[in-house]
């Protein structure tokens, strides 16, 4: 046993670099295959629908890069997708599933819009931070309900977070129709927030809102914290083996709750940024499909917080391309969601042969 072991050690010293390269390539291949396969299936569906697949795919993939408008649009989509993905991956690192990013986003938006309307006369230096903080706190409170139920009564967090989404729909409906309704909008929406609540734009029109920059910083800070703070390490340890973490003095149950609460805060921030950067008010339906996109991104990144922003960018490109595709090739927008789901499915499928192969080797 010892002899063979020494051999492998010697081997690893000489070929470690080529091995690292190999492992990167072998890890990337399933993703590439999954993306290509998903687009191939998408193209087949487009053909079956009687449209031009080349033109459709061209629109999907290039709209983001053809004009400044397209790129700004993409980054504006990217912001909530990244945040909703992190709202999923942070609790996931403790082994908990937060399926409530959309409710947390909406309550964050509600809190943000409330501050933005009530304090509409305040100057920006006070009002804008207050709006963003209120959004974070709103998300924290909403996820905090699920976290409390989990830690105190062991209520399954998947159930509680999903159900709280439905409650949040009623909350924003009430706020948009009864508290600060914009009667002229023809759609449940609040009146606009004060000038001071809006995120300043970066550069000439059409310009990005500065929330993009904020999210770049937040995403890096979150990824670094999860990797290198004691609490982040403890959260990841809890997800890897709860029992061993407990034996080594980690308060696992509390950390699981904390993970959900942090996730909620992140989603709440997304809500506040949507209010302060995109809409200037709160409106029904503003959660779009960010919950599901966040989960897709989180799963595609396999919970790796550093990978989330990059995967999210790819998904944002597809999302923005979707409406262009509908205009140019008359293919329904939903096809892009099908492609996104197929990418995820194919990536997940790639685990099956891998797992089989490993078992076979044993």
């Amino acid at each position: 046993m010892s002899n063979t072991g020494q051999l492998t050690q010697a081997e690893s010293a000489t070929s470690s670099q080529s091995r690292i390269l190999k492992s990167i390539v072998s890890k990337a291949i399933p993703y590439l295959v999954a993306v290509v396969a998903a687009f191939a299936v998408g193209a087949i569906i487009i053909v079956l629908l009687g449209h031009d697949p080349v033109r459709a795919m061209q629109s999907v993939l290039t709209t983001s890069f053809k004009s400044q408008f397209g790129f700004v649009e993409t980054m504006h989509k990217w912001v909530p997708i990244v945040l909703c993905a992190l709202a999923f991956t942070v609790p996931l690192s403790t082994g908990k599933f937060n399926i409530g990013a959309e409710g947390q986003l909406l309550i964050g938006a509600t809190a943000g819009v409330a501050v933005g309307i009530m304090g509409s006369d305040l100057p920006m230096v006070i009002l804008l931070p207050a709006v963003l903080v209120a959004g974070v706190l709103g998300g924290i409170v909403w996820a905090g309900i699920a976290a409390f139920l989990l830690v105190r009564f062991q209520v399954n967090e998947i159930l509680s977070t999903v159900l709280l989404n439905f409650v949040s729909f009623q909350v924003i409906d009430y706020v948009a129709s009864h508290v600060w309704p914009d009667v002229g909008a023809g759609h449940p929406a609040t009146i606009s927030v004060g000038e001071g609540a809006l995120l300043p734009r970066l550069g000439p029109s059409p310009a990005m809102h500065s929330g993009v920059l904020l999210v770049v910083i937040a995403a890096i800070a979150i990824a670094v914290s999860m990797r290198s703070t004691s609490a982040g390490f403890e959260m990841r340890a809890t997800g890897a083996n709860q029992r061993a973490s407990l034996v080594h003095g980690i308060k696992t149950s509390r950390l699981a709750g904390a993970g959900l609460v942090i996730g909620g805060g992140i989603a709440g921030l997304a809500g506040a940024i949507e209010v302060a950067g995109v809409h200037g008010k709160m409106l029904e339906g503003m959660q779009s499909n960010f919950l599901i996109l966040g989960i897709i991104v989180g799963l595609l990144a396999r919970g790796n917080n550093f990978a989330v922003p990059f995967v999210a960018f790819g998904i944002a490109v597809l999302e923005v391309g979707a409406s262009a595709m509908q205009r140019t090739a008359h293919v329904p927008i939903e096809l892009v969601l099908i492609i996104e789901a197929l990418i995820l499915l194919f990536v997940l499928f790639s685990d099956v042969p891998k797992g089989r192969f490993k078992l076979g080797k044993k």
Binding site: M1, S2, G5, Q6, T8, Q9, S12, S16, R19, V224, R227, S228, T229, S230, F233, E234, R236, A237, A240, N241, R243, A244, S245, L246, V247, H248, G249, I250, K251, K362
Partner: protein
């Protein structure tokens, strides 16, 4: 009383491998009709593995099974039940919120279509079985509200209801009260009186002598002896289980000659008083337990698995809360402190169950080595964990403990059992412990690694660290300890100094015979 001259059960040359581990090396077992057959052996002897093969949970790599003279193929528990083999596991496989009756008939197809369920016939059958074998149950009680002893009866009834003629009981008395044990044994007698065969997996010699007609003793995946009760006595059984193999044991090679040097100092370093420790089933296994360890002393706890070792180790490590009593480490009262404070106070714990209690399988070696000290200032730089320094320490630990892995970024779950143990030991020793709790620390290690562990233990003992060595390897306990205590069912049944420790005597105390002083 054999059918056509055939034994009820004949297992021949059964082999089973788990990867590199040869769990069963050609094991034979023969059980007659109307016999209670004891299957004895320490942990890891292969008793449960052999019975899981018989019950179809594992697929054997070789060997044959004959029941009443005809060879059978058992690929699943369904096959096993079809040929009359039933098994009661240590952990009950029951639906908690179903009634006793519903649990008994579950999966047994009591008649009717998928849409209807008529339990009248089943009810009378269950009541009949319950009366015949003295297994008193209330058919409509919800099982989660029942005590352990009654839930076990439900499990036995499940097997009987399915027509078992061979009933396997896996350590059935572990969580039973003495009265419940008596009831169980009476039921067993009633079963064999009707011609059934019962196989009792156990490591408690007294029980075996009370109820078994014949016994097969296993050790390290082999059957070492088959004895009739009338031809043997507790001392001989203890000798076979513990003594005869002393020279074959790998660790015995290392420990061939006694070169033990005591490093114990005068002061008491660890003091545990009046401990009441509850097990996972809500039973107070330890009731008023006392333990003192001097600085630098290695205190060995000898005992057969399941007599409270895990509970004691966890209580001493601050992982399992005490019901009452107090534990002091170097004069500091630890009793009600959270686990993290115990770690900070220098208590290092090497658990028995490596996979469950000690490692993060999907994390790297570096991360696993950090576990437990992630909050200490020494691993940080600018408030964040200094991964570069952690990697450097991991490199050192990997070479010092000769962990064989592709590198410090290897996932610990992918390492072999022995290498996982080295990572765990490296972490424990890096902790600069003041109390080191080792539970079966060298199980699965090769001789060289075993020797290495013993050297490391001496190193920390030199620094005045108190060591609690809990092991089922009696040779190891005797060779490494200043003092040996025998543990039986949560109580101490004997104490020996290093020089007077004698395996046969300790072996007897391990089976519950209190040492005469």
């Amino acid at each position: 009383m054999t059918l056509n001259g055939h034994p009820r059960l004949k297992m021949t040359g059964i082999q089973k491998r788990f990867g590199p581990v040869h769990a069963l090396k050609s094991v034979d077992l023969e059980v007659a009709p109307g016999e209670v057959h004891g299957l004895l052996g320490g942990n890891g002897a292969g008793k449960t593995t052999l019975m899981n093969v018989l019950y179809g949970l594992y697929d054997a790599d070789g060997g044959t099974i004959d029941i009443d003279g005809s060879t059978v193929t058992i690929k699943s528990p369904r096959d096993a039940l079809a040929v009359g083999v039933g098994m009661v596991h240590q952990t009950f496989l029951q639906v908690d919120n179903y009634s006793v009756l519903e649990n008994v008939v579950l999966g047994a197809n009591p008649g009717g279509s998928a849409l209807s369920l008529n339990l009248d016939e089943a009810r009378s059958q269950v009541l009949d079985l319950s009366k015949r074998f003295g297994l008193t149950v209330e058919p409509d009680a919800i099982v989660e509200e029942l005590p352990v002893g009654v839930r076990q009866r439900v499990e036995i009834l499940k097997a009987l209801y399915r027509g078992s003629k061979i009933l396997i009981l896996d350590e059935p008395t572990t969580n039973l009260t003495p009265q419940e044990v008596d009831d169980l044994f009476q039921s067993i007698q009633a079963m064999v009186a009707e011609g059934m065969s019962v196989i009792l997996i156990t490591h408690k010699i007294q029980e075996t002598m009370a109820v078994c007609d014949r016994m097969t003793i296993m050790r390290l995946g082999e059957n070492v002896a088959v004895l009739n009760k009338v031809d043997t006595n507790p001392e001989e059984l203890a000798a076979i289980m513990v003594g005869e193999t002393a020279n074959e044991d790998a660790s015995a090679v290392v420990l061939g000659e006694d070169n033990f040097v005591s490093l114990a100092q005068d002061g008491i370093a660890v003091s545990a008083k009046n401990l009441v420790i509850r097990n996972d089933h809500g039973v107070d296994l330890f009731q008023g337990f006392n333990l003192d360890i001097r600085a630098g002393e290695v205190l060995g706890i000898a005992g057969v698995a399941g007599n409270g070792q895990v509970e004691l180790a966890e209580a001493m490590a601050g992982v399992r809360p005490l019901q009452s009593g107090s534990i002091q480490v170097e004069g500091r009262e630890m009793t009600s402190l959270p686990t993290v404070e115990w770690l900070r106070g220098g208590v290092a714990y090497v658990p028995e169950d490596r996979y469950r209690d000690a490692i993060l399988p999907t994390a790297t070696i570096t991360e696993n080595l950090l576990l437990g000290s992630q909050r200490s200032a020494s691993v940080k730089k600018n408030g964040l964990i200094d991964w570069r320094a952690a990697q450097k320490r991991a490199e050192d630990a990997v070479s010092a403990f000769s962990v064989q892995a592709s590198g410090i970024s290897a996932l610990v779950g992918a390492l072999s059992g022995g290498n996982i143990q080295r990572v765990i030991l490296a972490r424990a020793f890096a902790h600069k412990p003041r109390l080191l709790i080792l539970h079966n620390p060298t199980r699965g290690l090769d001789i060289r690694s075993t020797q290495f562990v013993y050297e490391q233990v001496s190193e920390v003992a030199k620094t005045g660290c108190a060591v609690l060595l809990i092991s089922e390897d009696l040779d190891e306990v005797i060779a490494q300890s200043d003092r040996v205590l025998a543990l039986y069912s949560g109580a101490l049944t004997g104490e020996w100094s290093h020089s007077e420790a004698e395996p046969y005597e300790i072996g007897r105390s391990m089976t519950g015979l209190v040492k005469e002083s």
